[in-house]
């Protein structure tokens, strides 16, 4: 198929695109077209006479391009990219649904598809929804699909909804299709600070940015479009002169002047989509989508693939100037959604920016002066405008413009209203009627043939960002607008609005308010504006900026015609009337019941009209009905930029211990424990996990093993009150702990439950080395700081996290002392000098400073060697060599867990779950008896904390030693319990014990310690395992093995 090169609607008049633009080829719905470089997809389609670009959400009505910018509700398309089929694009993951054709920049080879239609845009079967339109009103779904249960009563109804109706509704809802493959593009994130952030590069934004920049402020000026200039790019040359220049020329000179100031950063294609408290702004910059990418290329092959697709800028500005402009409002009249019905300003933009005529025979329908200017621009560009219909009386019309239009042959019809639009896939004609003195249609309906209707209901200031940042708004009766109000004095609200978004319409007003806003912002920032600035001379047409709100008088029963308010969500005047009739009186209810303002344009063109219709129906003034809340984002924003670099291994930092490489060399399999990678077990050739763990456990029991314990949290406490601090923090007594001794500490929360544990060594009278669980390291440290700073500020001690400073190697097993002997220096390992729970400082491996704990989490003779992290690998290698010479082993977390379970040592978080007191865990003896207080002490005396039937930690021995229990399995009193049987407790840790040659488990069981020897039952899957309640210390209950 050949590319259509006609572009029959391209005008010869000079567009802002320039004269020398290149022709590019693109495809839409498989058809080939040409456009010009610099076109938007919308302007290129219009150049080819294509208005029909989509189907509406509910009724699947044919829809055309309505706007030229961000507010477009209809022209949502799926962008595929370059040279590919839709199918291959879906597979590539680079397809993007729901983009606005008005914002897509054209490039050679671009391909796009319309959405929400089957089988084709022109013939959409679901347009049948329209035939049932009289039923598909607001609230339809709430009222029905409840009772159609095939006579099966309530069950049938529930089934029918979720299995039949809901899937059908889901299929017809939605817009585009999501990709089915991973997104190959990447996204970047940056942070910036500036003095002044200026949002919007129109007349107000340009003058504000330049003034602030000239005064020496660092300025970021962002605009959502590719070009600065805003509406100045759209107007015809005669409409406004600034500084004796045409608007376009003035913009060029401003852009040049701004570019010359180094402190101003200009960011185009950049949407400020979120504005938060304290001058924090979120900006989304498009960097990739306007650059063609080939699907055939592998990721990273092309230079363009190295570019991020979009960038998130998180900006802290000392002051923010909003120059976000205003959006033209549609008028609400029957069939105002037909392809060819557009906003007047959009038609002007297509002509001036892109050199595209939107039609051959245009009728303008307005309630606002600005549309006269739009009509003049079109006439000047050679577009035939036959009629201008104004809702207002002749006296309200802009005299000078009326005369000019009449001269150009435009018939001006005052005090009349369009009552119907004809044509389905494209406007064919309109009907209008005159209005009587009460504003009601009178007389005959007259028909005007046309292919385009331009509408203007006036202008709505864009308050979104102002409101997002918690700015309040006020209703201005004179202009019928909500405007930014003065901020509440208590807020640190360094925000000021300028130009049309603050109600200052027109170019002179925009420039004035832009300069004033810059002055205000500079004051907020604290910069003296020495130069000052005066506004350049502006010659513009004196026009009124008022408009019309709500439906126009069209003489039809609003319930019988479709006069659209929210185009994308198919909300009509009728829906709003029904909602208010049904008692929806809050604007939030009206919004949710009708879904007006809830489409992807978030009501940019519909909110005010919807509110006005609701207000009239409720017989209340508009401000009493109120606005719905503006929420981030201003325009839809890719998930990708929020995620940024956090993907793959960068999703969350990976923490590895200093000895990680040695573990890898030893063949470790790792497990994720929080952010840590911990060695799980070390399989040798041919070993299964069970084999390896079995060997590791037995080797530790019978010989010796090395374990990397570096992930444990470590906190150094220093100062004269260190012992007192620990005394209050942990349940144990610390004051009498001798220097050179360790103690096992237990930490509770205020509710009295165990939340952490660890060994604490007293290094000196005023210095302790505290260890925490791996997962608790940060939390315990934060909790200590919290208590020290807020509860006990009088205590004189300091906390330092030393988790990253020490590498820790546990040497466990009967041969542990032999491993260390010869390597340690200045340390006497003799048990009489360094007994169990002893601590000593010395050196190892030739002068490496060492803190040596004689502690055991295996039940065997054990030491924990703490050395500076950097020396960890060296010491580990030396220890490993000795262990290997003795035929010992390295072991991982699984063996560690089994060894400790054989001894009945708890793991906080596994054998406790935040509901376990020291007594429940059998560790009440650890509580310092004479302590006045410690964290959680008061809670331990609450009635339910000392109740007799609390769950207590016990051992569970399956009657059949070969049967395994399962972590988390429930413990009950009877065999084969029926559903609903209350649980006595649950299994907390279940393992096969190599040294005992049988399965063992620990569990929390109600009144367990009084039930020794009793049988309980543990249902696992379809079976129930019988187990005996026993003491949880399964191995070496007298503890002789640690004391050798």
């Amino acid at each position: 198929m050949a590319y259509s090169t006609k572009q029959a609607y391209r005008t010869n008049s000079e567009s802002r695109l320039g004269k020398e633009t290149r022709t590019v080829k693109f495809k839409f719905d498989g058809r080939r077209y040409t456009g010009l470089e610099g076109d938007s997809l919308a302007s290129a389609l219009l150049a080819n006479g294509v208005h029909l670009v989509g189907r509406s959400f509910k009724y699947h009505r044919p829809r055309g391009i309505m706007a030229a910018g961000v507010e477009e509700p209809n022209a949502l398309i799926t962008l595929v990219g370059r040279h590919s089929t839709a199918k291959s694009a879906i597979r590539s993951g680079r397809i993007t649904p729901n983009l606005r054709a008005t914002q897509i920049e054209l490039y050679d080879g671009l391909e796009a598809y319309s959405q929400n239609r089957f089988p084709s845009l022109r013939h959409d079967l679901q347009a049948a929804n329209g035939w049932f339109g009289r039923f598909l009103v607001a609230g339809f779904y709430y009222k029905t699909f409840k009772g159609f249960g095939f006579g099966l009563g309530r069950v049938g109804a529930s089934f029918a909804w979720s299995r039949i109706y809901e899937p059908l509704i889901r299929r017809s809802a939605g817009l585009g299709k999501a990709p089915r493959a991973s997104d190959p593009d990447h996204y970047a994130q940056f942070y910036r600070h500036c003095d002044v952030l200026v949002v919007g590069g129109g007349a107000a934004g340009l003058s504000a940015a330049l003034r602030a920049g000239k005064a020496g402020a660092s300025v970021i000026l962002c605009d959502e479009t590719p070009h600065l200039g805003g509406s100045l790019l759209d107007v015809e040359n005669d409409s406004v002169h600034i500084d004796n220049k045409y608007a376009g020329q003035w913009v060029k000179s401003m852009v040049k002047e701004i570019a010359a100031i180094k402190s101003i950063t200009v960011m185009t294609r950049t949407q400020c989509f979120g504005l938060f408290a304290d001058g924090f702004a979120a900006l989304s910059q498009q960097t990739g989508d306007h650059v063609p990418r080939n699907h055939g290329q592998s990721e990273g092959a092309a230079a363009s693939a190295d570019l991020p697709r979009e960038v998130l800028w998180q900006v802290r500005a000392k002051a923010t100037i909003l120059a976000t402009g205003a959006l033209e409002r549609p008028l609400v009249f029957p069939n105002n959604d037909r392809p060819g019905v557009m906003l007047a300003s959009a038609a002007e933009a297509y002509l001036s920016r892109y050199g595209v005529a939107v039609g051959r025979q245009v009728v303008v329908f307005t309630a606002s002066d600005s549309a006269y200017g739009s009509a003049l621009t079109l006439v000047g560009g050679g577009v035939k405008v036959t009629h201008l219909i104004d809702l207002r009386e002749a006296a309200a019309q802009p005299r000078a413009l009326v005369d000019k239009l009449r001269e150009a042959g435009v018939q001006i019809i005052p005090k009349a209203s369009i009552t119907m639009v004809h044509g389905k896939l494209r406007v064919k004609s309109i009907q209008y009627r005159r209005l009587d003195s009460l504003g009601q249609p009178q007389g005959a309906e007259l028909e005007i043939p046309c292919d385009t209707v331009l509408m203007s209901g006036g202008w709505t200031p864009s308050l979104h960002l102002h409101s997002q940042a918690r700015g309040t708004v006020r209703w201005e009766e004179a202009s019928q607008n909500f405007l930014p109000a003065a901020p509440k004095p208590h807020l640190n609200f360094k925000l000021v609005s300028a130009g049309a978004c603050s109600g200052r319409f027109g170019i002179a007003n925009a420039l004035d308010s832009g300069l004033a806003a810059a002055a205000t912002a500079l004051k907020m920032v604290g910069i003296t504006d020495k130069g000052g600035a005066t506004r350049p001379k502006v010659v513009e047409r004196p026009i009124s900026w008022q408009g019309h709100l709500g439906a126009v008088p069209h003489g039809h029963d609003p319930r019988r015609v479709k006069a659209f308010v929210d185009f994308q969500n198919d909300v009509t005047e009728r829906d709003l009337l029904i909602a208010t009739q049904e008692g929806m009186k809050s604007i939030e209810h009206v919004k949710r019941y009708t879904t007006t303002g809830m489409a992807t344009d978030q009501g940019k063109t519909s909110n005010l009209n919807g509110m006005a219709i609701a207000a009239e129906a409720l017989n209340r003034p508009i401000p009493a009905v109120g606005l719905t809340t503006f929420r981030m984002p201003y325009t839809p924003t890719s998930f990708g930029i929020f995620a940024g670099y956090a993907r793959g291994n960068l999703f969350d930092p990976i923490r590895i211990t200093p000895m990680h490489r040695i573990a890898v060399e030893q063949g470790a399999v790792f497990e994720d424990v929080g952010q840590w990678k911990r060695a799980f077990y070390f399989p040798r050739a041919g070993e299964s996990m069970h084999d390896a763990v079995y060997r590791e456990c037995l080797t530790v029991r019978q010989n010796v093993g090395l374990f990397d314990a570096s992930t444990l949290g470590k906190i150094e406490i220093l100062g004269p009150d260190s012992a007192e601090f620990l005394e209050r923090f942990y349940i144990n007594p610390w004051k009498k702990l001798a220097t050179g001794r360790c103690r096992y500490g237990i930490l509770l929360n205020e509710a009295g439950f165990i939340i952490d544990d660890g060994v604490v060594a007293r290094i000196a009278e005023d210095r302790f080395h505290v260890t925490t669980t791996t997962g608790g390291a940060a939390r315990v440290f934060a909790m200590m700081e919290d208590y020290l700073q807020t509860e006990w500020p009088e205590l004189n001690c300091w906390l330092t996290s030393t988790s990253e400073q020490f590498a820790v190697i546990a040497v466990q097993g009967p041969n542990a002392r032999n491993v260390l002997t010869g390597l340690v220096e200045g340390v006497d390992l003799n048990p009489t000098v360094l007994p169990h729970m002893g601590f000593v400082q010395g050196h190892i491996c030739g002068g490496i400073p060492m803190r040596l704990f004689r502690v055991s989490f295996s039940g065997e003779l054990g030491f924990e060697v703490n050395i500076p992290s950097a020396q960890g690998p060296l010491v580990m290698a030396a220890l490993l060599a000795k262990v290997q010479a003795l035929k010992g082993t390295v072991y991982g977390t699984e063996a560690m867990h089994i060894l400790r379970a054989e001894k009945g040592y708890i793991i906080v978080g596994q054998d406790t779950d935040g509901t376990v007191t020291p007594d429940d865990a059998g560790m009440a003896g650890a509580i310092g008896k004479n302590k006045l207080d410690f964290v959680g002490k008061r809670s331990l005396s609450r009635p339910d904390m000392i109740a007799p039937n609390r769950k207590q930690l016990v051992g569970l021995l399956p009657k059949e030693p070969s049967l395994a229990l399962e972590d988390g399995a429930q413990v009950v009193a009877m065999n084969n319990p029926p559903a609903g049987t209350p649980a006595l407790g649950h299994v907390t840790s279940a393992y096969y014990s190599p040294i005992l040659g049988r399965n063992i488990a620990m569990g929390l069981v109600m009144g367990g310690r009084a039930k020794m020897g009793e049988t309980v039952y543990i249902p696992i899957g379809d079976k129930t395992v019988a187990a005996e309640i026993v003491n949880p210390v399964f191995y070496d209950p007298t503890g002789d093995r640690v004391n050798v």
Binding site: E166, R170, A178, E588, A751, T773, T912
Partner: protein, 416 residues
């Protein structure tokens, strides 16, 4: 008017002129038998069951703003009952049983959709915790099943099951009866049904004080629309419960945090169920309208601002993009926040208070929507009878004094 196929056809043919107000907009009467403070799903439901099951004559629901405008209208609509402790299983499963027939009960389509709720495990500790839930639920007769990764691939193929994930999916617990419902419809359905039973729902009526007689018994409320008398008052004010209860001199063990959620632009059906991952903080489903509905976390600091920090959304979308890389190009359409009232044990408070005649239902934290019908039903019984309904009894306020906590956060305790 009853909503039905025939009434819809009839109204459709007569341009919908016959629909009446779904609820009245009454002025407050001088006195009521029971006043419910807070017209969210729980409060409106309470009024409905009080009128329907307990035949309480004169009931008013007072609402500061618009009904259903608090957390009922702001949550991500997840419904499930696979909680750990028997008390929790009791109330959430009671709710789940009511969800099943709620559309018929209220003559309002609340769009309960049992699409299955899948909770993912990413670490060995996760697996242990999750399996503990499965064991506990199965013993209680509540459906919850463990899926291995290959079964997950079948149930929800959109999940990235690559072992190369930073936190690979090791399995998940699936409750097939879990799913979603349409949140606004729940509030509106209860409001319409309660109104039809004579309940006065009074919006734009902020309670400013709670009055008590000489015996300390509540006697009524002061509001922005005047004083209203009542012998019994039920406070169901979610994030602002502490504020209201303070008016009666009761200090509540609650902290209020902003909690955020967001939706994508609507797309054709692309996601079949509800997936939750508490380890990497991702919660997602797809609404009937086609939007991906995503729950984010709470801010780290207490606040009454219905706007949370951007970094919280970013954190959630990091997890969503990692778990569902096919949705990385999807776009956030709207983000919002609500205020959740959180207790120390992450379980609600339902029942009597130290003040005679004053009842409270709060502390639902981040997950109250799923409980709406069950919570409303047992709270209504509690108010009507003056003593806790058996299902509500474990959730009594004084458990924080006695220590009989129901710690649903506990089992997710830290790993070694």
């Amino acid at each position: 008017m009853k909503f039905s196929f025939s009434s819809l056809v009839k109204q459709g043919l007569s341009d919908h002129r016959g629909w009446g107000e779904q609820w009245r907009d009454p002025a407050p009467q001088p006195s009521y038998d029971v006043i419910i403070i807070g017209a969210g799903g729980h409060g409106l439901g309470t009024a409905y069951y009080l009128a329907k099951k307990y035949k309480v004559g004169r009931i008013a629901v007072l609402e500061k703003g618009w009904l259903g405008g608090g957390n009922t209208g702001r949550n991500t609509t997840i419904i499930r009952s696979n909680y750990l402790w028997e008390a929790s299983e009791g109330i959430y499963n009671h709710a789940l049983n009511l969800w099943k027939d709620l559309s018929s009960e209220l003559n309002y389509n609340v769009m309960y959709s049992p699409r299955g709720v899948l909770s993912l495990s990413h670490t060995i500790h996760d697996v242990q915790v999750s399996k503990r839930h499965v064991h506990a639920n199965r013993l209680a007769g509540i459906d919850n099943e463990w899926l291995e990764p290959n079964q997950i691939a079948e149930f929800c193929p959109q999940i990235n099951l690559s072992p190369k994930l930073r936190y690979p999916v090791l399995g998940g617990a699936l409750q097939r009866r879990g799913g979603t419902a349409r949140h606004d419809a729940v509030a509106w359905g209860y409001a319409r049904a309660a109104d039809a039973l004579g309940v006065d729902i009074i919006q734009n009526c902020e309670v400013t004080g709670i009055t008590r007689d000489n015996n300390g018994q509540v006697s009524g409320v002061e509001t922005t629309r005047g004083a209203i008398k009542a012998g019994k008052i039920g406070v169901v004010a979610a994030g602002h419960t502490s504020v209201v209860m303070a008016m009666a001199g009761v200090r509540m063990p609650l902290e209020s945090y902003p909690l955020q959620a967001l939706v994508s632009e609507p797309i054709k059906p692309a996601f079949p169920c509800v997936v939750m991952s508490s380890t990497i903080h991702a919660y997602m489903s797809q609404s009937d309208k086609g939007e991906l509905v995503i729950g984010a976390g709470t801010d780290q600091y207490v606040s009454y601002s219905q706007t949370g920090g951007l970094y919280i959304d970013s954190h959630t979308l990091e997890a969503i993009c990692e778990l569902f890389p096919i949705f990385r190009r999807m776009r956030m359409l709207r983000n919002w926040g609500g205020i959740v009232d959180v207790t120390a044990d992450r379980s609600p408070i339902i029942g009597t208070t130290p003040v005679p005649g004053l009842f409270v239902n709060c502390g639902w934290g981040t997950g109250g929507f799923k409980a709406t019908p069950g919570s409303a039903d047992v709270f209504a019984a509690t108010i009507a009878n003056g003593e806790p309904h058996p299902i509500a009894a474990p959730f009594r306020l004084d458990r924080f004094r006695t220590g009989n906590l129901i710690d649903e956060g506990a089992a997710a305790a830290v790993a070694h």
